[in-house]
Symmetry: C2
Subunit: 425 residues, 2 copies
């Protein structure tokens, strides 16, 4: 028999949790899936129709995506204050795949925010580098603290390591917060000082709850070195379609990175799925019905996330104000003694407890790179909107989604579970 | 300005050539695209219809693909003499992406056939290993010579390198030949002796021109260590849809590799495009209309490839009998002196000459890893079937496609170009 293979990275924590929850559901158990950020909303009919009309697109087309998709993406960013040349756009089969290909193209080690999305570190390792974790200051989710970044990079270089990029997530997964402009600017300045490429994961850009307070981008402060990525997964709830776009910087460094990224893409995925490219071009052109849908989902995320946040806070959790996305990142330290008295001493045990006792799937802070298994969790509210497309559409349409019985029940279910933790003797 | 990035690998030679040819075409130049193996045939209407009906599939679903797709793939292989457990199938966004993820999951260096497909070596490098090129014996396309394999692996290990896998391509790209069963068996035995995983790229399995002579698979001889990959790209001409499947071996090593591959997939692509999975499940179940279409395209490939091969041979090229796929790999050494007298001393210069003087896009042997820029080329006949879906359908339906004027013209165009080379003073 051949030597068994050892996995070079662990399974994605979000996807692994989803599969466990799906198995429990198939076994007839009651499950509240709050572990992954998959958006439980139906596809916009006009968007589905675009895909249905593109099924005859069977050619690979250009490695970096069709001219139509790249032009639409350029328009999307230009409307957000980042003028974009379509020739500096690279489309791929998901922004996840693009991030990985960027790490391969850039090479070296990658600074990742802590807490940060589960795949940045694993992708860095698969690309042959080492993740360099740098903490995020409270309320400034997704942006490594600029001073700590300087220290960490200098120390790493002194030890012979080769950090070449820093990842930021604005707005942030897992904390649901948006780094303020000052932090983003200082991060961009530090990256310039340190000659790091900034990889800015902006997939949640349009899901800031207050549309009058759009998030800032490091591409405004360090345009010569910032790559921005996004996709349709979060805005339009079509994660399963697998499509994303990257915006590379102008000038020679951007050109060189574009060439490297296209080369990597040509060797590992050829081109993004052709029919989906047509649908993505339609979506990124943002016709009124798309803007209306993104607006409706933004309101729904905000309403439900804040309602769940209020219940967590009422139960004694510490929680930064949730201003974007569908993620809550409560700190249960105030309940530490009660939990410890019942054998629950860290976030991992707490996540198990919520699943076993309440059927609630969540992820512990450890999944987001936090050391020492702290008593923090990430809860995603994006699958509380209904079990059917009809319920989900009603949630999008409702003036007050919290009055819909299935949403009220779900919010109460979470709230009661945490009340129960707070009431432990 | 940041330090410019150096691409870690070159652009895929086939995709780069396609983009050059597309640019020439847009500039109004006459082009005969024979550089890439993209299949210029329309999508089967029933298959397109399946995709159109699946556009509401927006959830990620399982990392390794839907149960329906995995069961259909298991049936596909079981019908070909390789009984398959659906739980040992992994679907991905293209067999190209699966091959790369396998190299990441297996780790170490990878033995690649020479000549061999353009991406095996680049993918090995991106996965952190080094390709170990081993020559293929004439007429045994895609299978590294078993004795040379033993020598190369032992030498590499003595030098501290770590070869863990060997890739085979049966039937073969670029040579259009099918390794005989004896060679496949001896390769499998050598892999067992050397404790190598065999990665068997069988995307051309159903395109052997004589359906009574199906290709053999190393999975029959070394079932405990062979991974088989395939997809819809070649059989059903839907390369742009991006879908592929891998069949892992039974037993503990197969289980461990399955876990590693799923972990890698979860971190770099999440899941294959969900709507395409539905269409792929339909195709791999092989209803009569799918079998009829694959049969028709097999006959068309065979007829046109052999007609072009006859013209090349008539012009003096050496060519192993073409028995599968749409690839020809002629050796122009008999014309060496004539070509040299006109400044054309290698395959690369010859490819340039064919493009500049005749508008024919081909790839030199160097693109397939052959050292020393020999006077060999790969020509793909898969885009000679017509400029429109109507012409292509007529080619599929024609009792004798060579009588269709556009195909006759294309074959004559290639033939005349090579006659011209043979007639050089």
């Amino acid at each position: 028999m051949p030597t068994p293979t050892t996995a070079p990275v662990p399974m994605s924590a979000t996807l692994a949790a989803d599969e466990i929850l799906a198995r429990r559901q198939r076994a007839g158990q009651r499950v509240l899936p709050m572990a992954s950020g998959e958006i439980g909303l139906p596809v916009l009919p006009e968007l589905a129709d675009r895909l249905a009309r593109a099924v005859h697109r069977t050619a690979y087309g250009p490695v970096t995506g069709s001219p139509g998709l790249r032009a639409a993406a350029a328009g999307y960013w230009t409307r957000r204050g980042l003028p974009t040349d379509p020739d500096r756009v690279v489309a791929g089969p998901g922004s996840k795949a693009l991030l990985f290909a960027l790490f391969l193209a850039i090479g070296g080690d990658v600074v990742v925010p802590v807490p940060g999305w589960v795949s940045y570190g694993a992708q860095t390792r698969l690309a042959g580098g080492e993740p360099l974790p740098v903490p995020v200051a409270p309320g400034r989710g997704g942006v490594p603290d600029p001073d700590l970044l300087r220290e960490a990079v200098r120390r790493a270089r002194a030890l012979g390591r080769d950090p070449r990029a820093v990842v930021v997530t604005v707005p942030d997964n897992p904390t649901g917060t948006v780094a303020p402009a000052g932090t983003v600017r200082r991060l961009a300045e530090a990256a310039r000082e340190l000659d790091l490429t900034v990889v800015s994961d902006e997939i949640y850009h349009d899901l800031v709850h207050d549309p009058a307070a759009p998030p800032d981008s490091p591409a405004r402060y360090a345009p010569e070195r910032t790559v921005v990525t996004t996709g349709l997964t979060k805005n339009l709830a079509v994660g399963g379609w697998r499509t994303g776009v990257a915006r590379l910087s102008d000038g020679e460094p951007g050109r060189a990175l574009h060439a490297a990224l296209a080369a990597v893409a040509s060797q590992i995925w050829s081109s993004p799925p052709a029919p989906v490219q047509e649908a993505a071009a339609y979506a990124l052109a943002e016709p009124p019905e798309v803007l209306a849908r993104v607006g409706a989902s933004r309101r729904l995320h905000g309403t439900v996330a804040r309602a769940v946040a209020a219940r967590l806070t009422a139960a004694g959790a510490l929680l930064a104000p949730v201003t974007a996305t569908c993620y809550l990142y409560p700190d249960l330290t105030p309940l530490r003694d009660r939990l410890a008295a019942h054998g629950t001493t860290g976030g991992t045990a707490l996540a198990h407890r919520l699943l076993d006792e309440h059927g609630i799937g969540v992820l512990p802070a450890e999944a987001f790179g936090e050391p020492g298994d702290p008593l923090r969790l990430r809860l995603a509210t994006s699958r509380l909107y209904g079990a059917t497309a009809e319920e989900q559409q009603a949630a999008l349409d409702a003036p007050d989604p919290l009055r819909l019985p299935w949403i009220r029940t779900a919010v109460d279910h979470v709230g009661s579970a945490f009340d129960g933790l707070a009431a432990l003797p």
